[in-house]
Symmetry: C3
Subunit: 273 residues, 3 copies
C-alpha cells in the first residue's frame, strides 16, 4: 500500500527547495537524492522566490535560523502557497528558545503547511504553548508510549484539525495523522538517535514524497516515516565489528537508495487508528 | 600526460581559499585534502582579503549565496586578481534564479577567472543569456551528446574566447577547453549524479590542480576532470551488496586519496579536438 | 585514570552548545553524539542566550566567523559565564587573518574560557601576537618536537597562567596543560591531518568531557585528546584496500562511538610534566 509512494518519487523526480540548517544539510540533500528526488538549497530572501517557483515542494527547517533566513522562509512560504506547492515545517528546537518558538508560531500563522513534522516536545510546544525540551531532542517526559498511545493519537488528530496540516510526530513510536486518521508506526531503531539529523533527513524526504503523491498526502507522509525507520533497520543489519554512528549514517542513506516498493511494503510496520 | 598534474598537487600542497555553499562544503574540503591540497573557507567580507592573500587559488561557488557572501566573493576575487592568484567560478544554479544569473554575470564582469566550471545549462545561461535548468542540475534538453559533440566543442571554444577563461562543462561527456583546444573526456559514471556536490568537489579540486600547474592550466583542468570521473569508476568497483549513494560518496573521495600519476594516466579517457 | 572521564560523559549526557564553522559542523555533531553528549547549534544573536542557558557547555569555534556570528559568540559567552557553564575557545585560523586574530583576542578579553584549544601556530599567535600559519594548519616551523618539548611545555604552562584557561595544543605531540601540570600525549596518526576538522571535532568532544567532569577539567581535557588520538589509531586498524580519507573520517567517529573506559585506559599514551 505505502510502497507505491516511493515508486512515485522515483518516477516523478520531485524538485525540493530546502531552507534548512547547516548542520545536517548535506545528509538532507543525499537522502532526497537517495529516495529519487532532487534537492536545491537557497535561503537568501532575494533568491528564494525564484528558486521555490521552479520546485514542487518547500521544506522549511528552523534548526539554525537567523534573521535573514527567517525572512527567506516567509517569502518562500508565501510564494509556495500562491503556487499551490507542498510546504512542510520542521520546527527544530521549538520550546528550546523564544526565537525558535515564536518563529515556528509566526510561520504557522502566515503560511499554510501541508505537513508539520517534529518530535513530541516540539509539537507539544506548538500545540500547547509548552512542552519540555532537551535541546533539539524530545524530553523523556514527553515520549509517546504504548500506555499513552490513545491519548497521543487524539492529540495528533486535534493538532491536525487545528492547523489543517498533517501532523507527523516522530520518536520510538511515530504518529502520522490528519484530523480523522492516524498511522501508528513502529519501524526504526533506538541507535538512530545517535546520528545527527535523522529527523531533518526525514523532513526533506517527506517533502519529496508528498510532492510525488499529491492525492495521497497522508499515505505519502506515513510512507516516508516507514522508509526512514525501515532504512534504519536494514542499515543496522549491515553493521560490522568496529562500526559506529558515522558508518550507520551512511548505511541508512544507502538503504533508502536501495529501497523499492516491495521492500517497503514488506517491511513497513504500522496500524491505522 | 595528465598524471603528472596530480603529482604536482601532492608536491606543492596548494592552499585553496573556498567561498562555497554550506551544502557540500565538507566534501569539498575533504576532496581538496584527498588530492594533496589544503582547503580554507572564509566568506566574511572583513576576512576574505587576508585569507585569499595567503592562498594560491580562489574557488568561488555561488550555490548558497547571500548578500554578505556575494560581497565577500567580489572582494576576494579582486584581491586574488591583484596577486595573480588562480581564480575559478562555479556558477551553481545560474539560470535557476535571477539573483544567481546576475551574480555570476556580475562576477564575470569584475573578476578575471582562470576557469569557469559548470554544467551545460549553467554555461549556456552565461553564454547566451538563456538555458533551461532543472534546479542545480542540467536539463536533459541541454545534454552534450555524441550527436551534438562538434557543435558543443565549438560552443566551449567560443565561450573561452569570449571570457578568456578555460571552460569546463561537465556531464556525461565532459568538455575542458580554451579558445583553441578542447579535451573531450569520457570518464565517470551516471550514479555520480545521485551524490550531492560532485560538481562542487570537482571545482575545489580543479582549483588545487591549476594552482599546482600554473604553466599548464588547460591540462591541469582536464586532469582534475579525469581524476574525478576515474575516481567515480574506481569507487564504484568497490561497491558491495547494500551500498548506496552515501557509501559511494566516501568511495569516490577515497579513490582520489589513492590516485597517483600512473593510475590517472592509465585510466584517463579523453581525446583532444 | 582518564578512562573514567568518557564514562562520565556517557552517564551525564551533557548538552553542548556549539557556535562553530559550517565546514565541519556535521562531524562535530556526530562526534559529540559518539562520545555520549548531545549537540545543539545556534549562532543567531537573538537565539544564543536561550540556547546556551539550557546547555552545560559552550564550544566557540571561529572557523567561518562572520559579523553576525561574532556577535552571537560574545552574547553566548557572556551568558555562559554568568551561569558558570564550561566555555571552550577554538581559535581556528588565528594568525591567518586580522579579523580572526582580533576576534580571538577580543573573545579572550571579554569571556572567561575554561579551555583554549588550537594548533601551535594559533596558540603562539594568541600568546605572542605572532606565529607563522599555513591557513588553518600549523606551520612546520612551529611544530612541537621531542627536541623543543621542555620549552613548549613551559610555553603551555605560561599561557595557562596568563589566561587562566587550560591550554590544549594539538599536533603530532599534544600538550594539555594548566599553569602547573602538563599532559604530553602521543596518541594519533599523521593521516588524521588528511581529514578536515579533526581539531574542530576534538573541541566539540572536549567541551562535552569538561562538562561531564567539572571537578577534573584538566584530566577531562587530556582524556578527550587521548580519545581522539586513540580513535585515530583504532580507526586506522580497520582500514582496508581502497579506503582513503573519507572512510577514515567515518572510522574515527565509529571508534569514538565504541570507546569505553577500559579501551581508553589501555590505549592512552601520555606522561605528565
Amino acid at each position: 500500500m505505502l510502497g507505491i509512494c516511493i515508486e512515485n518519487v522515483r518516477k516523478n523526480l520531485p524538485l525540493v527547495h530546502n531552507i534548512t540548517n547547516y548542520v545536517t544539510v548535506n545528509d538532507v540533500a543525499n537522502v532526497i537524492l537517495a529516495c529519487g528526488g532532487s534537492p536545491i538549497m537557497s535561503d537568501e530572501p532575494l533568491d528564494v522566490e525564484d528558486i521555490t517557483s521552479i520546485c514542487g515542494g518547500l521544506n522549511i527547517n528552523i534548526g539554525t535560523l537567523n534573521k535573514s533566513t527567517i525572512e527567506g522562509m516567509k517569502l518562500a512560504g508565501k510564494k509556495a502557497n500562491e503556487l499551490n506547492h507542498m510546504v512542510l515545517l520542521d520546527p527544530v528546537g521549538a520550546g528550546a528558545s523564544k526565537l525558535r518558538t515564536e518563529t515556528a508560531v509566526s510561520l504557522m500563522d502566515t503560511i499554510k503547511f501541508d505537513v508539520i513534522r517534529g518530535n513530541i516536545s516540539e509539537i507539544k510546544t506548538l500545540a500547547l504553548g509548552s512542552g519540555t525540551t532537551k535541546g533539539v531532542d524530545a524530553d523523556a517526559a514527553d515520549t509517546v508510549t504504548e500506555e499513552n498511545l490513545e491519548q497521543m493519537v487524539e492529540f495528533a488528530k486535534n493538532f491536525s484539525a487545528k492547523t489543517g496540516a498533517i501532523t507527523a510526530i516522530t520518536g520510538a513510536i511515530d504518529l502520522v495523522s490528519n484530523s480523522e486518521k492516524c498511522y501508528v508506526i513502529r519501524n526504526g531503531r533506538p541507535e538512530m538517535g545517535k546520528i545527527t539529523g535523522t529527523g531533518c533527513q526525514l523532513s526533506g524526504m517527506m517533502t519529496a514524497f508528498i510532492v510525488a503523491n499529491p492525492d495521497n498526502k497522508l499515505e505519502a507522509a506515513a510512507a516516508a516515516v516507514c522508509t526512514m525507520g525501515l532504512a534504519g533497520e536494514i542499515g543496522w543489519s549491515y553493521m560490522q565489528d568496529g562500526d559506529g554512528n558515522s558508518t550507520y549514517r551512511n548505511r541508512i542513506i544507502d538503504a533508502i537508495f536501495n529501497m523499492n516498493e516491495k521492500t517497503l511494503d514488506e517491511g513497513a510496520k504500522y496500524e491505522i487508528k
